[in-house]
């Protein structure tokens, strides 16, 4: 543990970008946890006298078309955006890696079934499939999570399958078998933990993508419903005002989205360095 921490400090020291990304993650988490109390205004309170005000001392990031404070809505939205992304990625990680690991370990009909399923999902343009799922299941936040999880599933399943497959007949696995462990136990406690490091990198890169995906879905009017503050919806709200010069309604939530995605992508790269010293750049 101490060695890992020291290695972590080395990586952060070596690559300050990873350190910055980690700091950014802490800021995001802080807003997600305490945003409701920090926000200077009520994110839902409208003010007919203060519509579309440019950034000022009272409203740092301006106000939107019904006079809501953009900054407050942005801060409060952090939690929803992160929750959607994290739960979608967690769901597809658990289901995808379980299915993929079984496919890679047992082979046979399990493998055929899992590959058919992932191939079918991959036969769709992924965002279009997510749209179709939300349209069919109903327009709710939970369904956005399911849709995002489903379109991410193939990546985890394929990766887990490949990683398990190369370890299936490794020496330490044979040893575990000889020691009398059943196949399920060998897979869960000997093979699978060794597949985790590369998958963690995938998780981090995927989080950024999941945020973008959920935001794009709510931008086109699926999932999160209007008065709820969410970055994608806020950008959509401001879209009409971009052509008439009221840039702040869209710009700030868009920047927030960009920063969050950027943060997870950089963390993914940093995590890869931490886990795989050979590919360190």
């Amino acid at each position: 543990m101490i060695a890992l921490l020291r290695h972590g400090r080395y990586v952060v020291g070596e690559n300050p970008v990873t350190g910055a990304a980690f700091a950014l993650l802490l800021v995001l988490l802080f807003f997600a946890l305490f945003g409701v109390w920090i926000a200077p205004y009520d994110p839902l309170a409208t003010d007919a006298a203060q519509t579309l005000q440019p950034p000022s001392r009272a409203h740092w990031f301006g106000t939107d078309q019904v006079g809501r404070d953009v900054l407050s809505r942005m801060i409060v939205a952090t939690r929803l955006d992160l929750v959607i992304a994290v739960s979608a990625v967690a769901l597809s990680f658990v289901l995808g890696s379980a299915a993929g690991a079984c496919a890679g370990f047992f082979g046979g009909w399990t493998e055929r079934l899992v590959s058919r399923l992932t191939d079918t999902i991959m036969a769709f343009p992924l965002f279009v499939l997510a749209m179709a799922i939300v349209a069919a299941l109903g327009n709710t936040v939970a369904n956005i999570v399911y849709a995002t999880a489903i379109i991410n599933l193939p990546f985890y399943a394929r990766m887990a399958r490949a990683e398990t497959n190369v370890r299936r007949d490794a020496g330490f696995v044979e040893a575990a078998r000889l020691a009398g462990n059943g196949p399920g136990r060998v897979l869960a406690f000997h093979v699978f933990p060794n597949c985790l490091p590369p998958m963690m990198v995938q998780v981090s890169l995927n989080l950024g993508w999941a945020i973008l995906n959920a935001a794009a879905l709510s931008f086109i009017g699926l999932g999160v419903r209007p008065p709820t503050p969410e970055w994608g919806i806020m950008v959509a709200d401001g879209a009409a005002f971009m052509v008439s010069g009221e840039w702040w309604v869209s710009l700030f939530p868009g920047l927030a989205l960009m920063l969050a995605v950027f943060c997870f992508n950089l963390l993914g790269d940093g995590l890869r360095d931490l886990i795989d010293p050979r590919r360190r750049t």
Binding site: F127, L129, A132, A136, F219, G221, V235, A239, V243, G245
Partner: protein
């Protein structure tokens, strides 16, 4: 017996694409049946009597078993019947066909733009690692994967339409003063060239630039990144060193030896890029009020009109399967080894 190995490969790939297409049809059918509520009650409208709903249910075949319904669905598909749109009152197939050229034109323009910038950028970055062009490539690729596509589009609109006034209003394929060219391919850029109308070509190109750039910025990132990585790998390999040592010209080494090999992973990646582009297309069409199939599906979605949405998903998925087929064939053209092995 087909003698040409390339033709035989195409045939094999066509067969290999079949399970994907079947999967697509099954999934769209299941999504169709997972709709919330009773489709019959929905089609009948709020004022319908119980009897009217039952009649519609029989007419739609909803009172039959699931396998029977699936058979009916496949029969309709084979006839090219995707149902009727409630909002436009037209058959969905006709609506989709009328709007598909607009989407295709936009996607292709975006892709061509992305490839023509990303390939040279990736090659230059690989041949001069650490130079300013390498840093530029890295900046562009990082921005490309982090920027929400709708946000890029809006910022471009703000800068080039509102601030600078260079671009026209983001309102579709043509401004209000122009009339569309005589439809041949229904792709306005091509049709205006065919009609020999330079002014009209300029008018359509102006409308096209911003949405195409938005799509290209998004698609460029993975292509440039992959080109750079593949080129770096190939340039470090033995056969390139040997070619250099044999005194071949720089151009021959770079293009014939290195690039041809480096293109293979890039082409594999193009399939994934298409998948993202087709999805991004929907969002870009919304931002620029582009009258393609994406905005058609969105309008239908908001009106809870499901037949067009299903048709749209099916059309996009089929398009994607076909594009992947094309990529496989392209792969065979570039890599002689694939042809020999089959």
């Amino acid at each position: 017996m087909v003698r040409s190995p390339l033709l035989r490969m195409i045939g094999r790939r066509l067969l290999a694409a079949a399970p994907g297409l079947i999967g697509v049809v099954v999934v769209t059918f299941l999504l169709n049946r997972a709709l919330p509520g009773d489709p019959a009650a929905f089609f009948a409208g709020p004022a319908a009597t119980q009897q009217a709903i039952a009649e519609i249910r029989t007419k739609l075949g909803l009172d039959r078993s699931l396998p029977e319904q699936f058979a009916l669905y496949v029969r309709d598909l084979a006839r090219g019947d995707l149902g009727h749109s409630l909002t436009t009152g037209q058959p969905v197939t006709a609506d989709l066909l009328a709007r598909l050229p607009a989407s295709l034109e936009l996607t292709l323009c975006g892709l061509v733009l992305a490839v023509s910038v990303a390939l040279p950028l990736g090659i230059l970055a690989a041949t001069r690692p650490g130079s300013w062009i390498d840093h530029l490539a890295r900046l562009l690729t990082t921005a490309g994967v982090s920027l929400p596509i709708f946000f890029t589009g809006l910022v471009l609109v703000y800068v080039f339409y509102y601030l600078l006034g260079w671009a026209p209003a983001p309102l579709g394929r043509l401004d209000a003063f122009s009339t569309p060219p005589r439809p041949v391919t229904r792709m306005f850029l091509i049709d205006s060239v065919l009609a020999g109308d330079g002014a009209l070509f300029w008018a359509t190109a102006r409308q096209m630039i911003l949405p195409a750039v938005t799509l290209a910025l998004f698609a460029m990132a993975p292509i440039a990144r992959m080109t750079r990585a593949a080129m770096l790998g190939v340039l470090a390999s033995d056969f390139v060193r040997t070619a250099r040592a044999a005194g071949l010209s720089r151009h021959t080494v770079m293009v014939t030896y290195a690039l041809r090999n480096a293109l293979l992973p890039v082409i594999t990646l193009l399939g994934m890029v298409f998948s993202f582009l087709l999805g991004a297309n929907v969002v870009v069409e919304k931002v620029f009020a582009w009258p393609g199939i994406g905005s058609y599906a969105l309008e239908a979605l908001i009106a809870s009109d499901y037949a067009p949405v299903q048709g749209f998903v099916l059309a996009m998925a089929s398009l994607y399967v076909l594009l992947n087929l094309l990529i496989d064939v392209l792969y065979g053209v570039i890599d002689a080894r694939v042809r020999i092995e089959t």
